[in-house]
Amino acid sequence: MNKFYTLLFSCLIGSQFASAQDYSNYSTLTSRAQQLEKKYPSLVKVKSLTKTLGGKDIWMLSIGTGNLTEKPAVAVVGGVEGSHLLGVELAIGFAEKLLAQSATDSVKNLLNQQTYYVFPNLSPDATEQYFAKLKYARSGNAKSTDDDRDGVFNEDGFEDLNGDGKITMMRIEHPTGEWIASPDDERIMIKAELTKGQKGKYLLLSEGTDNDKDGVFNEDGEGGVAFNKNMSYNYPNFVAGSGEHMVSELENRALLDFLFEAYNVYAVLTFGPQNNLSNPVSFNKAGTSKRIISSWYEEDVKVNDLVSKTYNKIVKAKNAPVSKATEGNFADWAYFHYGRFSFSTPGWWLPETKPDTAKKQKAFAEKNDETAYLRWAEKENISGTFSTWAAVKHPDFPDAKVEVGGLDPFVLLNPPYKMVDNLVTEHTNFVMALSKMVPTVAPMNVKTEKLEGGLTRISLDVVNNGAFATQTKVGEKSNWVKNIHVKLETSGKVLSGRANQTIGAIAGYGKESLSWLISGSGKVTITIASPSNGQKTVSINL
């Protein structure tokens, strides 16, 4: 049954999500978001932040009750990397599963206290390539770019030489080739190593021709600027896919325009390539002592550590690969430039597969994702994700043996769809556990002392009831994170202490002590408020 009929059929029986067979394309995602708004009108508002150049809306779901902007919020962001469809699924799936439980006391309570901003897909132009006639891993949006900076735009993209509807690799037998078949699994190509006495046999290139005859293959195809390469932290200038300057793209700008005004956001959770949840970041003193910092601050590392422990308790997959630091990515931006607690996970990675002795499998001599994938796929009975190398005629190599084959695009980042539901459940549970650490401020130890002459001294502690500090160490210094505002209103006269003041950061479970000296009688109201830490009021009668 093809996708169209699957969709049609599931619409007819009215349970389109339960029966979904594959990742969601743009129109399915759109209807999933709209369905939620229809089903939970008092809890969800769906809004388009902007339209991409490809004409697709960037959806934002605001989830919560009452005045959302006054409650601490978590921003849940998916689709930062266009080839990572699972990220989209985890984000929208979280919204669905959370709302499905909205009648339970615990979720009802949660939604009375906190807000969630869910951005399921920041790369809709790119993710759509998964569903297109020609399927290939794509990160860039629909902007026309000159990736090889030769003055011509999109002139050298992929070609589907074997006509199978997807872009894999091609290997060319060539005297200057640097690649050989892996001794662990001869279907997979690895680089020959001189020190091992190996000599290369193949050139290995992506599938296509050198249309612009510049000696480089498929270096300037359709697919413009990548969301996850266009952010202002550690931005790579003049790199294919990074754009002409930082934050140049509509998607990036629209999200940032929203987030910078969303002062209630205390944490950002990204479902994307970066991972500081399986393994927390480590503190690097040298990285925080320079003018441009490159390490999390020590106090924030502790928070990351705590959150990571929570994650590993809930999410069962282990042995996550070490997260690669990429330039211009969103999750790093959320900490270093946005000043919020930023957590990120790809949600899934290739599990380790032990050699099956019954099948006489041996342990691999070398670590390689592709050989590992094939062994895992075999165990899981996943088939059809590898194309056997098969000869094609190639105009650029008329005299050489050219074969097209290799691993399907997407499979290393995205598990088979049937595994997704369980991953969504785990990650939804994680977000709820994360929400319990929310920093919230409240008054404690409120004391009024009557002094002579109609004077009263009021003292109290402003405490943080959450495990997180009220601000990250970066946030403490940033204009874009609000302080806690303490306001005292009285018909009397304030002789000491300030009627209006702000408190900077309060550590997790920490406090700040305040006192005032007031002459006169009547009512005193003290309001303690910060958009990301909630609001509390104390009333005292003198």
Binding site: R149, N479, A499, N500
Partner: protein, 578 residues
């Protein structure tokens, strides 16, 4: 009174009939060399104009010189004003306007640094009014195009001029920012207590204060000696603690710095004070950046700030030291040193070394991201008080005001009853003194700075196909060799441009005959050349150096007449037929 002056300037500007009725007969006027004697658009350059004033000048120039001046709206400001740009060239001659090497000029990125707009508008006016009678200007507008944005920050300009301010306020643009992070924006700015349009100083008599009157000029406050009793304490700029948080004037207009908003080595506000949300999150800057991205012909740029008498080049941040290589520094040095000569009292300096290290500045983006040779001039300095270097500018400024401005720059101290400080006195220099030019020096310095931009613009590349040599190779084959020269100081690609392929190579093409092969000739005499195998008709030349040339060659079948054309993004178009 303030408002009335503004209105009368405006009506003078818009009403030609009033102007002509009070203007002198042209027969009574004789040209002072170097200045237009009877301009079609009469503007007096000894005063300041608000943004609408500059728009009016621009529109009048466009109307008077439709073949030289075109005004376009390149975006909207945060408060909804039209951001205008004047594109000035000889539209009737030369190649198409946006293919000519371009010189970009703006002023007033900091709201209080207003005279850059007068300098920019003066430049536009001077070009248009001098074109008919001056050969140099005629040639300049034949070869080049000027893109002039009189104010890159119109909202801030009008705030500075129309609202009570001091010489330093506002530096920020007009988007409200919560400086004290208490949840309220702009809730505690200055208060013009004496209602004179200027935010001056507050002082209070106090024997425990550490200030006294200067015996040589009692308007001036000086510190008392270590063993002396004081007379006064200073209470800062005019203001009230409006939000009762124990601080006065701590959350006024802004604050962000539009010159920390540019997308080269941009850093957030906790690292680089003044940065806004992300690069080009300020709409005025974004409009300019988008314009520059669409105009790769811009080869040179100038922005006007105040003050200090400086001709600044990048890098702005020490981290960018390696960006500027030796070839580029040579070009910058030649231009900057000429600037020192043209504008006495100004010094040619490098921002990060000689001033301070700063991220996200405009000149860094222009050079770093676009490969455009760019200067920022800090207009006005104390040298101009008495045309000599000044060791005590603060005291000199009082003398200058006394003897040359007849105390017009100073608001005399007057008593005031302050709701929080009690009996105080208010007084001090007006906002238009100290950082901006006094009227009689404005036109002179505008002219000198303009002359520097003309020198800069003149030295953007000028390409020509100097010679085509045709040699018969027999067998019906001909060898066609062309010499492409750059007659100016700047190369077609700055070294930054070459390093990152910011702009595409210069394209040299041949028409006439069938091209069989094409090559760049490294040594004509020894016959050493590098062949371009793909598409040899259009030879890609990475760069044509300043005051330099390249030689290209084709092997051609047939043809009798050959046209060689060079098309360079920053060097313009030239061709020759033989």
């Amino acid at each position: 009174m303030h408002i009335n002056i503004k209105k009368s300037i405006f009506s003078l500007l818009i009403s030609g009939s009033i102007l002509s009725s009070i203007a002198q007969e042209s027969s009574q006027m004789f040209q002072a060399v170097g200045s237009p004697v009877n301009p079609k658009v009469a503007v007096s350059w000894n005063k300041y104009y608000d943004y609408e004033g500059h728009v009016t000048i621009a529109r009048k120039l466009e109307k008077a010189y439709p073949d030289l001046v075109k005004v376009q709206v390149i975006g909207k400001t945060a408060q909804g004003r039209d951001l205008i740009l004047l594109a000035i060239t000889d539209y009737k001659t030369g190649s198409s306007p946006d293919k000519k090497p371009g010189m970009y000029i703006d002023g007033n990125i900091h709201s209080n640094e207003i005279q850059g707009s007068e300098f920019a508008s003066y430049t536009a006016w001077y070009l248009a009014e001098s074109f008919a009678n001056n050969t140099f200007i005629k040639e300049l507008l034949h070869d080049k195009i000027f893109y002039i944005v009189p104010s890159i920050n119109p909202d801030g300009r009008d705030n500075f001029l129309q609202q009570p301010n001091n010489a330093n306020s506002p530096r920020s643009g007009m988007i409200a920012v919560d400086n004290d992070r208490d949840g309220a924006t702009n809730e505690d700015g200055f208060d013009d207590l004496d209602k004179n349009g200027h935010i001056t100083m507050m002082r209070r008599k106090n024997v425990n204060g550490r200030m006294k009157l200067d015996p040589t000029d009692p308007r001036r406050m000086i510190q008392v000696g270590a063993d002396e009793d004081g007379e006064y304490e200073m209470l800062g700029y005019e203001g009230i603690d409006n939000d009762l948080d124990g601080q006065v004037n701590e959350d006024g207009e802004g604050f962000y710095d539009p010159n920390r908003d540019w997308a080269w080595n941009w850093q957030p506000n906790y690292i680089q004070s003044g940065a806004y949300k992300y690069p080009f999150s300020i709409p005025e800057n974004r409009a300019v950046a988008d314009f520059v991205l669409k105009h790769p012909n811009i080869a040179a740029a100038q922005s006007y700030h105040n003050n200090g008498g400086m001709i600044l080049r990048g890098p702005g941040a020490a981290e960018d030291e390696g960006t500027y290589n030796r070839e580029d520094v040579r070009v910058y040095d030649a231009l900057g040193k000429k600037g020192e000569e043209l504008i006495p009292g100004y010094r040619y300096l490098v921002v990060y070394k000689d001033l301070y290290s700063v991220f996200g500045g405009e000149l860094d983006w222009f050079y770093g991201s676009r490969g455009i040779y760019t200067f920022s001039n800090e207009l006005w300095n104390s040298f101009q008080y008495f045309s000599k270097a000044d060791t005590d500018p603060q005291s000199t400024s009082y003398n200058f005001d006394k003897y040359l401005l007849f105390k017009d720059a100073f608001v005399d101290w007057k008593p005031f009853k302050h709701p929080q400080f009690g009996d105080i006195e208010i007084g001090g220099f007006k906002k238009t003194f100290g950082r901006t030019h006094p009227g009689f020096l404005l036109e002179s310095d505008a002219h000198r700075n303009m002359a520097f931009t003309f020198y800069h613009a003149y030295h953007t590349p000028k390409l020509s196909v100097d010679d085509i040599e045709v040699k018969d190779l027999g067998n019906g084959l001909k060898e066609v060799t062309a010499t492409i020269a750059n007659k100016r100081m700047m190369p077609t690609h700055a070294s930054q441009d070459l390093k990152y392929n910011i702009e595409v190579p210069d394209l040299v093409s041949l028409t006439g005959g069938k091209v069989l092969a094409g090559m760049i000739v490294q040594n004509k005499d020894l016959n050493i050349a590098t062949e371009q195998k793909v598409n040899p008709t259009v030879i890609k030349v990475n760069n044509i150096g300043g005051q330099n040339m390249v030689v290209v060659r084709w092997i051609v079948q047939g043809g009798t007449k050959y046209t060689v054309k060079v098309d360079s993004k920053k060097g313009g178009i030239a061709e020759l037929t033989k």
